[in-house]
Symmetry: C2
Subunit: 302 residues, 2 copies
């Protein structure tokens, strides 16, 4: 009954989306060592940091040094988030492979997050995309609050489609559609995806689920059946939920890889090396990561 | 694309399957108060204890007093696990509505768990079922290791079907098929269920998933699509994994109810009252329960 693909691409967002939500700052050399471990695990894509003003995200203030210190696996695309032209310029100087931009599908969330209306955001991103393209870089776009907004509640699918179309029309290569607050349920995903597919080409769409309510893997399963084959995830479930240890935010890469491999789907990622990388960052952060895989690993040691 | 039922029955196994795996013994009066809170939440079924020798499960040594002290909601079936005739007799004396028996689909797990071969187990259960029926009680049967055995690995579907058929032929009213060690993946569920459906009537089958690897809700989703509408769960994800706090074992009732309600499926259970019951047992156990719902609740308090 399930229709599943043979292969799925997983994009690791832990070093950016994960660490930016950790209260503890990870020492520079540990960060580099961790990203190097991730590179060895076989990822085709790692978002390693964000070129944003340290006033906003002090945890990632070392983006520039990280970019130039990590070992670059030729099989891996190394990407960084850039909020504006200044960020882009810094990122370009360090030789990133790809940059990502972001905005929200909900007006209020967009305003609270980047202090601009949706309409005001487009020209800022357009300028960034244009210059990145001139420098022959690929660009990724994050669309937040696709399945619900913490301020507005429901977000109309038309609005998500409109923002997405606008971003793709700028020349953005891939869009990552985010369930920012982890409210999507499988039926909603099943309802929303076909409506988006009428307007967007799914070979340019990735899904970015959060596991706040435990439904992320079920949502992945439904997405797979609608032809989505690229997913964002954060190793160990790191980040995405800064307020409580143990509460999960980001979908955990290790749980996702485990499920996919069990279902016979290739990811190119080595589960043993993933475990080692998870264990490494767990020790650095001195906390137990919330993914099921890490919990099982920690348990085996008791 | 998803085909979902309008209504699902959830059977709460927390007071038995949950508490029997807790290292801490819950004081008798707290246990009764907790089960009373569960009754108020709208369950149609609560497995409240196990009539097993206290040498094996000291946590449930008060089964008899619990049975006669809880407030019996007339809408709820109150069931207890019985390993043998002695347990059955004790259970019958306390006026339980239903008894449950258990065995494993895997030879080795059955031997380790109940010290008998599968063949030797049948007559023991048969006697229990016969007497329970004479006393006009319904009987539930648990089949363990349906999706994998900790000792044997894979368990052939034919073996699961054979054990299940044998139990149903004794007059058992409903079978709960357990993923005892939490290894089932959605594709496996999708493969196994149609093969079982060829031999078993699904209106007498419930699924009992563990969330050890985070796949329980995805497995529920697949089961729903195969026509299964009864699921076991344990409030807060209590129990099922005695060795490490925070690691999840049993599928959490609150996470399951949340997902089903979000998908528009009725359960008859009040989420707010469920939360209160979860909060109560969390305080009694002085530990944070692993379900996503309880984690979100705990976080909101930080």
């Amino acid at each position: 009954m399930l229709e599943l693909p043979d292969k799925v691409t997983i994009k690791e967002v832990g070093p950016r989306d994960g660490l930016q939500n950790e209260s503890e700052e990870v020492p520079f050399k540990d960060k580099v060592a961790w990203i190097d471990l991730l590179s060895e695990a076989g990822y085709s894509y790692i978002e390693f940091s964000s070129f944003v003003h340290p006033k906003w995200i002090p945890q990632l203030k070392d983006a520039r040094s990280v970019a130039t210190s990590i070992r670059r696996n030729p099989e891996t695309t190394y990407a960084a988030l850039v909020p504006n032209m200044k960020g882009l310029e810094a990122a370009l100087e360090t030789g990133v492979d790809e940059v990502s931009v972001f905005m929200s599908a909900s007006e209020t969330h967009n305003k609270k997050n980047i202090n601009k209306s949706i309409e005001e955001t487009y020209p800022v991103l357009e300028e960034v995309v244009k210059m990145a393209k001139q420098e022959s870089k690929t660009v990724r776009g994050y669309v937040s609050t696709v399945f619900g907004c913490p301020y507005e509640g429901d977000v109309p699918v038309e609005q998500v489609a409109e923002v997405s179309e606008k971003l793709l029309s700028m020349g953005i290569d891939e869009l990552s559609l985010g369930d920012t607050i982890g409210v999507a349920n499988p039926k909603q995903v099943d309802d929303v995806l076909p409506r988006l597919q009428e307007r967007l080409s799914f070979d340019r769409i990735a899904m970015h689920f959060h596991n706040t309510r435990g439904m992320a893997l079920a949502n992945v399963l439904v997405s797979l059946q609608h032809g989505i084959t690229t997913f964002d995830a954060s190793l160990g479930g790191l980040g995405g939920c800064p307020y409580a240890k143990g509460a999960s935010g980001n979908l955990a890469t290790d749980d996702l890889v485990h499920m996919l491999h069990k279902m016979g789907i290739e990811t190119g990622i080595d589960e043993q090396k993933l475990k080692e990388a998870g264990d490494y960052i767990q020790k650095v952060l001195k906390q137990s990561l919330p993914s099921h895989q890490m919990q099982v690993l920690n348990k085996e040691r008791v």
